[in-house]
Subunit: 438 residues, 2 copies
């Protein structure tokens, strides 16, 4: 079957058969389809959409384009969490140790940050020595030893997704629910999970700014996960401001260790709340707990006892990182940075925060990547002093930039200051972190 | 402006600005756009369509991607004819000599055949020695000497079109009216014409099988031509059977010479009728004649006087071809071919002919190209003995294959025989050659 025939069918809004979708993904993987043919079909898929059966067939074909992890010798539940990406979103580093402390194994394959969003691998690499490039054997060994392992996607897992994702990024075909679902789920299904908790972000710093789109994406992800025999649940969470206190790789790890140590301040509370919600859902999906209440209680107990922190320490040691950060989180912080306060000229209440603008600003000074090939400066970042709904007075500090020099400050100061909308009156709505469970 | 931003805009059905379209075509020409980005935008254009202003901007950008012919020193009207392609469509070889004999210059840049359709350059190369690769200077010299010149598209004319066409062919984005219009008109406008007559084919052997699509294409082509200051008119002509008597390169040239010599038989009459119609329209557009009646009379007179044949002879000499075909057209025919008759088993009236199947059959035995790189056998072809509406008796000959051997016969006999639908009763409709003038 010629690529043109498959492309033409989708172009005309018809439903592709399983065979046609397999031919497409085989062609992408063995490179018998030219990139320009692949991108033409991706655009046709973007514009025509995919039916549920096409969605499942695409996910399966992408999953089968590579190898699956095999944990058949492990007899505890295997679960993972996946977030659609946000600013200051560091919950993986808290949830995985919690789950491990509760007897669940978490084989977490993560990605890197791009644009305004961060990536778990980048955060982990802010820990001196931490190795995110584990072989399949090392990955398995780490998982068995400490209950969770965190590594990058190898070339062997869903190779078709790697190719498609790079093309989608270059051809404006990223924001398509069926293509996003196939991309996420082909990788997650390769982990051989029993359960998967999804954190679908919505708001100014999220990929899906609109709540309805986020709900649709969450529903499609859950439908696909469950269709493939993985118990899947999605939490729709707020991304109308950076999550928690810090944005920036080392600063975010610092926040996680502080939370695991129980040394929590007000701004960190959101991070804790979301981590507990997601971890509790994971325990229930795995059958370890029955109710949300009991599950949250269990999660809180492994935090309080220090068991979760202990799991994190074990994991850092397994993955060759500097585990002393668990005892002295301050060692994560670079003393050579300068701190610049963003001050408000207005008095009132913080009504809106452009989380995307904050994420992008930090990326621009090296905290993330504008382009894929950019190098990361793990130390730089931002502290969110004031959060949505907070009352502020003229001259007060909204946040603090941690950067290398004044040039960096000038580059982003204005954008950061403009990221805040301050109203005279108290905002009428509530800023709920958890929007919905799907 | 990033390619992704332009692609996303069209993907979302927005109207691209002239600047954005220029950036696209510049990127295609200087190769700063990757092929996969170009094909993604082509698919978005295919699916979203283009507004009139986008259509014009695209045509202009593609025109400006290369050089234009400059005939400012020539003070007679310059005109051309373009056909959307069909089977047995050989009118260019008759119209150009007629127009030249009537005092119009025809700088005709033509293409090659692909699939079921033929191409003027291939037909011309069936004339021994005929050179279709003229330099710009040779082209101009030929035009001045004999009133018309026929050559292939150089790399310098509308290079963006070459690139886009190749991609469209590989990505199922050919059949888009705005993309077709930009492709045709960017090349034709580069010829520096005063007038352009379009022959938009419709029917079983045409690109636009459906009459409404053909009308829409014709209207869009005329609108664009006129917007660029070229007087443009379109004739919608029937392609529900091969045009005239022969299909196949040398056989078609033979038919043209016979017509120019006035040695016309019944099956050739369609070819003559369409040639006269198109040539007459050209004379009117150029202001040489006022009414269709007087114009057709003028055309007939240069055929009757032998002036058109003389122009053809001059042109063949100018382009290094064997001009003796004008005196002995039989020298075009290869005596080594075998002739195989397609016979009908039914008695009745010819109700339908699949012209596309006939064109494709002849291509398969070397008369055309299935793939771009295929070599042509100029001699092979097909004679249409019976035409639409003709009464046939069981055992009678419908057509004759001119081929090299029995293997070729076996390859295509059945397809050719099945190309005819014979009904018991006389077809009620008329088979009109000229459907409409737009």
């Amino acid at each position: 079957m010629k690529p043109q025939e498959i492309i033409a069918k989708k172009r005309d809004g018809e439903i592709l058969s399983r065979q046609e979708i397999n031919a497409f993904i085989r062609g992408v993987t063995d490179e018998t389809w030219a990139d320009y043919q692949t991108s033409a079909l991706l655009m046709a898929m973007f514009m025509s959409g995919l039916a549920q059966e096409e969605q499942n067939a695409l996910t399966e074909a992408m999953l089968n384009s590579g190898e699956r992890l095999n944990f058949s010798e492990i007899d505890v539940p295997l679960a993972d969490k996946h977030s659609t990406g946000g600013v200051g979103d560091k919950t993986s580093l808290i949830i995985a140790p919690i789950a491990a402390a509760c007897g669940i194994f978490v084989p977490m394959i993560s990605g890197r940050g791009l644009g305004h969003t961060g990536g778990t691998l980048d955060k982990l690499e802010a820990i001196r020595g931490y190795n995110v490039n584990l072989s399949t054997e090392e990955f398995k060994e780490t998982l068995k030893t400490c209950g969770f392992a965190m590594s990058g996607q190898t070339a062997k897992i869903a190779p078709a997704d790697k190719k498609l994702y790079a093309l989608r990024d270059a051809t404006a075909t990223v924001e398509s629910i069926p293509l996003i679902v196939a991309s996420i789920m082909s990788k997650k299904l390769a982990e051989g999970l029993d359960a998967l908790v999804l954190d679908v972000k919505t708001g100014s710093g999220a990929f899906m700014q609109n709540l309805d789109n986020a709900k649709n994406l969450a529903a499609a992800l859950c439908q696909t996960g469950n269709a493939f025999g993985v118990k899947t649940e999605a939490v729709i969470s707020d991304m109308n401001q950076p999550l928690g206190k810090f944005v920036g790789n080392a600063l975010e790890v610092f926040e996680c260790v502080k939370i695991l140590r129980g040394e929590i301040d007000k701004q960190m509370h959101q991070t804790l709340e979301l981590s507990i919600e997601l971890a509790a859902r994971m325990l229930i999906l795995c059958g370890v707990e029955k109710t949300v209440q009991s599950s949250k209680f269990k999660v809180q107990s492994v935090l309080d006892s220090g068991a979760a922190l202990e799991k994190f320490r074990q994991n850092i040691e397994c993955q060759s990182g500097a585990a002393e950060i668990c005892d002295n989180p301050e060692t994560l912080l670079d003393k050579n940075l300068i701190e610049v306060e963003i001050k408000t000229e207005k008095t009132g209440f913080i009504a809106e925060i452009d989380a995307g603008a904050i994420g992008e600003s930090i990326s621009r000074i090296g905290g993330g990547r504008i382009k894929v090939e950019d190098k990361i400066d793990f130390a730089v970042g931002y502290e969110c002093v004031k959060k949505l709904g907070d009352r502020v007075k003229s001259g007060e500090t909204l946040g603090v930039i941690f950067c290398r020099n004044k040039t960096q400050t000038h580059l982003i100061y204005k954008k950061l200051a403009n990221a805040y909308k301050i109203d005279d009156g108290k905002p009428s709505g509530k800023f709920e972190l958890i929007k919905e469970i799907i």
